[in-house]
């Protein structure tokens, strides 16, 4: 019995429960239509994945929500307020980590706060907490080149958490690390979503990853970019990190998504 709800237009939960909404977003690069009239809503406190093959515009959409790119038309609202640029209510985690290679882990994690003018001792206290939270306690004085890929990404994550934004935007955060580290991260992400009262928007091209971590999956298809389905896996979320991957609903959803996506693989 499938508990997948397939809708073409998103359902609308009560407005209070929507943390981020993207309406009629179009983005053109010259002649190329990266996004066309895309509308999507992201419920508060949940993790929504943007899943799709390369070129479907998911990173573009994420950056528009972050305020790093301007849409050609359409608007974004976060907590009811329109978005025109980066803001303190959103934090970004980069695919290639974007750490300052000349700064220590401590400074890197505190960097978001440093840019906001928070005093040094205060921001280092906050940073120290999150460094511990992501499991890098003891590495405060290390430099990025001394860390493994997985550790570097954890620094990036700690930095994003340290600024305490309500919305966390993650751009394929685990694609640059090895498979084992990646699995561990996915498990950690589940507990993170549960414990932090934030809204997560997560871009990935891995179907298993999306189904594993998400409360809501938005499948994007390319040319023109559009939302083709929204899937809300339920029922296996609280089964424990290890059992999810064997749950039959999980496996069904993964297969179904692959079935609809395989035509779009080049």
């Amino acid at each position: 019995m499938s508990q997948i709800k397939e809708v073409v237009a998103p359902q609308s939960p009560a407005p209070d429960d929507i943390a981020v909404s993207a309406r009629n977003i179009t983005k053109n690069y010259g002649d190329v239509e990266a996004l066309k009239d895309l509308t999507l809503e992201f419920p508060r406190g949940q993790l929504t994945s943007l899943l799709g093959p390369s070129g479907c515009g998911k990173t573009t959409l994420l950056k528009i929500i972050a305020g790093l790119l301007q849409p050609t038309s359409g608007n974004i609202e976060v907590n009811g307020k329109p978005v025109t640029g980066p803001g303190p209510n959103r934090a970004f985690v980069f695919q290639d980590f974007a750490l300052l290679p000349w700064a220590s882990v401590m400074r890197n994690v505190a960097f978001g706060l440093e840019l906001r003018g928070v005093a040094k001792s205060e921001r280092e206290d906050v940073a120290a907490k999150y460094i511990g939270d992501v499991g890098l306690a003891g590495f405060e004085k290390s430099y990025p080149h001394e860390l493994s890929g997985g550790m570097r990404q954890r620094v990036g994550l700690a930095r994003a958490l340290a600024v305490d934004a309500k919305v966390l935007l993650m751009d394929e955060p685990f694609s640059a690390v090895d498979e084992q580290t990646r699995r561990k991260f996915q498990e950690d992400l589940l507990s993170l979503v549960e414990n932090e009262n934030k809204t997560f928007i997560f871009v990935t091209h891995s179907i298993e990853e999306a189904v594993y971590v998400s409360d809501q999956i938005a499948i994007l298809l390319p040319r023109p970019s559009r939302v083709s389905e929204i899937i809300r896996p339920s029922g296996f979320r609280n089964k424990g990190a290890d059992s999810i991957r064997r749950d039959s609903e999980y496996l069904d959803i993964v297969d179904n998504i692959w079935a609809s996506l395989r035509n779009y693989v080049e």
């Binding site: 972050a66 305020g67 790093l68 980066p86 803001g87 303190p88 959103r90 934090a91 970004f92 980069f94 290639d96 980590f97 974007a98 750490l99 300052l100 290679p101 000349w102 960097f111 978001g112 440093e114 840019l115 906001r116 430099y143 990025p144 080149h145 001394e146 890929g149 570097r152 930095r159 600024v163 640059a176």
Partner: protein
């Protein structure tokens, strides 16, 4: 087991100096003193103090020229890197300056500014500045897009971007540009001394040549080369030390 590279370095030095000694004894030319003769002359010059006073004279235009080139050069380079208008306007000048044999301008400089410190400083300037400016601007332009974006996403101001992201990221290339600039400045300083008026070490060279005191001439030249090489090597080590983790400033592989 003794450090093999070191042993080979010493061995090659011995071979070269030995060849020098032998060539001097043959003699390859009446004007070719032996290695030991030259070293003796070097020692004597150093003891007499002539060498040091000479270096003070030689290094003056070099230091002044390099200092000016550094400040103005990095400043210009930053401006060019940050403003595409200024880049379009000014970089072609420096590109031309780098490819052109600017040594040809020396007689002109002498005519305009006489034979004193000013023209020598100018010589050092025209040799050193282009490479410093071009390296700096290139470094600024090649700041990885990712960390610039990261700065914007965390609400960094334009000033934050320049001071906390662009300049630190560009530092390794700026520093190596400085190293190249100083190297070119050395050439300029020597050229100025040999061509404009002999002072300092250039004077020792030309004077000893004119009285056929070849050991002293070779000694002076040897000392300049050693000095320049040691200094530039030192800079390279400092560069490696300061920018250990940087490579090209990228963290992701």
């Amino acid at each position: 087991m003794v450090n093999r590279p070191l042993v080979l370095k010493i061995l090659s030095a011995v071979i070269i100096f030995g060849a020098w000694e032998i060539a001097g004894r043959v003699p390859v030319s009446y004007a070719f003193p032996t290695f030991f003769e030259s070293m003796a002359a070097l020692f004597r010059l150093a003891m007499e103090g002539t060498l040091f006073t000479a270096y003070v004279d030689t290094l003056k235009p070099l230091i002044v020229g390099v200092a000016i080139s550094t400040f103005i050069g990095i400043g210009l380079g930053l401006w060019i890197g940050l403003s595409s208008f200024f880049d379009w306007l000014v970089s072609p000048i420096f590109i031309v300056m780098q490819a052109a044999p600017l040594a040809a301008l020396i007689p002109l400089l002498v005519m305009a500014y006489g034979i004193g410190l000013t023209s020598k400083v100018f010589v050092v300037l025209i040799m050193a500045m282009p490479v410093i400016v071009l390296n700096t601007s290139s470094a600024v332009r090649h700041t990885p897009e990712s960390i610039k974006e990261m700065c914007r996403s965390f609400l960094g101001s334009r000033l934050d971007m320049i001071v906390k992201i662009i300049i630190p990221a560009a530092s390794p290339l700026i520093f190596s540009g400085l190293r190249l600039g100083i190297s070119a400045g050395f050439i300029g300083a020597i050229l100025a001394e040999l061509k404009i008026t002999p002072t300092g070490v250039g004077d020792i060279i030309t004077f000893s040549r004119s009285i056929a005191d070849y050991p002293s001439m070779y000694a002076a030249i040897f000392s300049i080369i050693v000095l320049a090489v040691l200094f530039l090597n030192l800079l390279e080590r400092i560069e490696k030390f300061l920018f250990k983790g940087n490579d090209l400033g990228y963290v992701s592989d």
